[in-house]
Structures are given as C-alpha cells and as structure tokens.
Amino acid sequence: MQTLDNAKSPPAAIKPLDQSVVARLKRIPTAYFAFWVIAAICLVALLSWMGFSLCPYSFDQTSTDFLAGPSSQHLMGTDELGRDLLSRIVYGARLSIAIGLTTAAVAFVIGTLYGAISGYFGGKIDTLLMRGVDIAYSLPDLLVMILIGVLLGRGTLGILIALGLVSWMGTARLVRAQFLQLKNEEFIEAARAQGQSGLNIVFKHLLPNAIGPIIVALTFTVPSAILSESTLSFIGLGLSPPACSWGTLASDGWRSLRAHPHLIFFPSLFIFMTVLSFNFLGDGLRDALDPRTRLGKTVK
C-alpha cells in the first residue's frame, strides 16, 4: 500500500511549487498590482449592486447641467440628459463585471465537462467531439454572438448566453489536451490499479492536476467577454437602454465624439483598465504556476 500511495503523488513536471502561487505572484509587480485593481473594481461593482450609494448622484438622475465637461461637481462630466457620468460608470461596472465573470464560469463548466469527456474517453468520442469544436471554431465569435444575441433578444440574459456559447471551446480544447497528457501518467495508472471509479479519477486526480492552465485560460476569458460585450453594445446589437454597461456608455459617447470626447473617453478608460488588469493577472498567473519560471532573478 505504501508504494501505491507514493505513486499517487504528481509527476515531476508538475511538482508542487516550493512557494505558494500567491507568494510567487507577489514577485511579479504588474500582476500583483493588476490583482488589486481588479479587486477594487469588483468591490465597487459589488457594493453598488448591494445598494450602497457610492456617488453623490444616482445613475439615472437628470439635471439641467447638460453635456458638461469634467468639473469638481461632476468629476467625469455629464451626458446629454445631465446625468453624472461617474455615477453611470460605477453603475455600469456591475453589468460589465458580472458579464465577464459569468461568462468565465459558463466557459469553465461547459468547457471542462466537454473537454474532460473528450480527453478521458479518447478514441471515436474524442474525434467526434473535437470535430464539433472545429466547426464551432470555423465561425468568427462576433458573428455567432450577433446571431444568437439577436435571436434571444437584447437583454442581459441573451448576451450572457451568446457569450457563454462562444467562450467554452478554448477551455474544452485545453482540458482535453491536459487530460490526454495526464491520463498516461503513473499516478493515474496507480489510481486505476487501486480500483478507483472513473469519476473519482477525473475529479480527484486529473482535474486538480490540470487546474493551473485552466485558471489561466479563464483569467483571459473574463477580459475577452468584457470586450465582446462592449463591442456588441457599441455596434448597436448588444444591451439596449435603459440597461447600462461600460459598452453602452462608450457607444452613447461615440455619437458625440466630435463635440464631447469625455463621454467616450471615461467609459473606454474603465473598459481598458479592467481588461488590461485581467490580462496582466493572467500573464502573471501563467508565470507563477510555471515551475520553470525563475522569479526575482534576471534570466539570461
């Protein structure tokens, strides 16, 4: 029994890191900073969703101060109905962040299940399932999203389903590749020899060992979903008013680019900051999870 227990430990290539991932992440300044930026934006979105008023104005409160530029009263100016832009951006954060995170969650569940089935069984099932992914991949994301989004109506739910449907393929491919690679390792063989069930092997042995790259991939799914939503809203096929996300705000601002550039500048800035932070965090996580990266030393 002793030897079998030893055999269960992960193979050398994915040996547990000598430091925790968080400790390693701290040594990548851009990623660590990005982590706190994301935490702050998520906190603001959460507090706003819970009903705390974080701004002096409500998001739909109109005033006679139409299209004012940034001032001490309205830090980011006002729109054509005199609504405070900062308050609208804070309000819009909920939808933008929620869409990003939900899409990643959907991609995780569908992608992992699909990829796990494909990679675990292999053979004909694998070929068939992967052919399906190939076909799904053979269309541009935005095109599929537009078609599905229009079909389901331009509400939040429609956008979420559309985004979820185009976001899981990458995760599925990744999970499948990881499983194919891992399932021939000795510790899986040992688990089989112990007579463990297939489900047990998938969820207790294969998935935990494949989780690193999956998390990295999901970290990149969030920003791409936020970008896709804003792009859809921008070309007028996304959320429709009164729903308010960073994408719809930027889209409104686009129409008055010439006269009032602040209306597109600030929402875009927030989209950009959030997406950039997630991308830096993803890069950092990938390096932190990779035992080959030597942190803190100059690599020649």
Partner: protein
C-alpha cells in the same frame, strides 16, 4: 500536398452545409421579418411581398428551396436593397473587405513579429518589458476605442486624414491601422513565446558556439524556426481580423462585408445574412487549409508523418 488540399475541400462541404443550415434555422427563429420596419405597409402588400420571395411557404420548404439555389451558386436576393441579388452585393463588398483585411494583416505581421522577436532576444531587459507592455495594451483596447482615438487625433484635431467611405488610398490608412492593432499585439506575444522556446534548443547553442554572430543566429536559426507556430495562427488571425472588421467598417462607414452583415441582421435580410455568413466561413476554411499546407512546407517532419 494535392491530396491534402483535396481532402480539405471535401471536408469543407459538410461544414458549410452545417453552417448554412444552422444559420438558416437561427434567422428564421429570430422574431420579426424583413418587412416589419415598413410600418405603413398594408397587410395585402406584405402578403404579396412574402409570396414574391416565397416567405409564405412552410419553413422546411423554404429551406430546401434555399439549398437548391445554393447548390447552383445563387445566394438569393436582398429584401432591403431592392432588385439587388446577394451575389451582386457581396461581389461589391468582398473586394473592399479583402483589401482592408490583407493590408491590416500585412501591417500586423510587419509590426508584431519583429516586436515579439526583439522582446524574446532581450528577455527580461527593458526592451522586453516595453514590447510586452505595448502588446498587452494592444489586446486590451477595444477596436472602437482605437478607432475613436485615431479619428479624434488625425481627423478632428489635426485634419490630416479623411474618415469614412472608401475612395482614395488615404481613406485606407486609419481603418487599416485600427484593424491591425489587436492582431499585431497577438502576433507579438506569440512570436515572443515561440522564440523563447527555440532559444533553448541545442542547435542554437551549437550555432553560437561555432562563433556565429548574434544577428545571424537570430535571423537564420532562431527566427526561421520560430515562425512555424506563427504561420499556423493565420487561421485564428483571420477570424480576429473578420471580427475586427465588423467594428472598423461600422466606425468608418466602409461598404464592406462586415457592415452589410450588421445591417442585414438589423433588417432581418435573411438571404444577405446567410450569404455573408457563408462567405466568412469559406474564408476561414481557406485560411486554415493554407495553414496546413504551409505547415507541411515549413516543417519537413510533418510530411513524413502524413
């Protein structure tokens, strides 16, 4: 090689059939029809219009009618652009999008590949940090923000470049640059990763130890080999450019396929939606086939396996 291309062409037919069928079903389920926007039309006229375009027939019959016409290369008629066939519209719009896409892709390769190579060769140094910061920036900015910024600076403030339409070569500059941004950033990241992998190979050490200069080692031994994965992303890159073209053609009012697709979706212009979707699918299949062929030419090991 020819066998491979033939195999790909044969495989493309079922894929296109699936794409056509799915899109057909999708557009018919979508609430609203092509003549809804014209609110003042009396019901008799709408009935006549529906009869003229066979839209009064049951959906399965419409589907087989469509497939029959498709087999003859007829993509149908537009319901909005009166008296224009989809083939007619697409043969005008496709060259515009192709031009824009090719110019942008070329631009992206010319910027992205050197940027990534420089970053990898100078790994960990200032050049690397700057190049990677720029490329992360590039994948983080939405296309419409780049477009808005460029328009604001070059067309509104400086007034040096025209915006909108597709007339002189000057009209190409801003859209092409906007569209090139994210593929360039994507390529830079990919090239860097690929070069870093190659740098550690034994034969690179051999090249260095036999006294080759840094320049020769990089250009002859490292870059050439690390370009293989770069060529293989041409497929995904084409998809990125197509996605980008929706936004860019919308912003700059370019009469390309992306713009026609968006207006067709808004107008429920069934045949035009299907036609553009199919052309996009064909484009991606062609790009992927090209990648497979290029792969075989670039990497002799692939030929032996086949």
């Amino acid at each position: 090689m020819i066998a491979l291309i033939l195999k790909r062409v044969l495989l493309a037919i079922p894929v296109l059939l699936v794409v056509a069928s799915l899109t057909f079903v999708l557009v018919r389920i979508v609430p609203g029809g092509p003549f809804d926007a014209d609110k003042n039309l009396p019901p008799e006229i709408i009935a006549n219009l529906n009869a003229k375009y066979h839209l009064d027939k049951p959906v399965p019959e419409q589907y087989f009618l469509y497939l029959g016409r498709l087999a003859q290369g007829d993509l149908g008629v537009s319901y909005k652009y009166v008296n224009r066939t989809v083939n007619d519209i697409l043969s005008d719009a496709f060259p515009v999008s192709l031009q824009l896409g090719t110019i942008s892709l070329t631009l992206a390769v010319m910027i992205g590949v050197p940027l990534g190579a420089i970053a990898a060769v100078c790994r960990g140094r200032r050049e690397d940090v700057i190049a990677m910061f720029l490329s992360t920036l590039g994948i983080s900015v939405p296309g419409f923000v780049i477009g808005a910024t460029l328009i604001f600076v070059f067309a509104i403030e400086l007034r040096v470049l025209p915006v909108g339409l597709w007339e002189s070569p000057w009209h190409v500059v801003l859209p092409a640059v906007t569209l090139a941004f994210s593929p360039a950033a994507y390529l830079a990241r990919l090239t860097r990763a690929s070069v870093l992998e190659i740098v550690e190979k034994d034969w690179v050490r051999t090249a260095r130890s036999k006294g080759l200069s840094q320049w020769s080692t990089v250009t002859k031994h490292i870059l050439r080999n690390s370009l293989i994965p770069v060529v293989t992303v041409l497929g995904p890159l084409t998809a990125i450019v197509i996605t980008g073209s929706f936004v860019v053609e919308y912003i700059y009012a370019i009469p390309g396929m992306g713009r026609f697709f968006i207006t067709a979706v808004m107008n429920r212009d069934y045949d035009l939606i299907l036609g553009t979707t199919l052309v996009f699918a064909v484009l991606l299949i062609v790009a992927n086939t090209f990648v497979d062929v290029a792969y075989q030419i670039l990497d002799p090991r692939m030929r032996l396996e086949d």
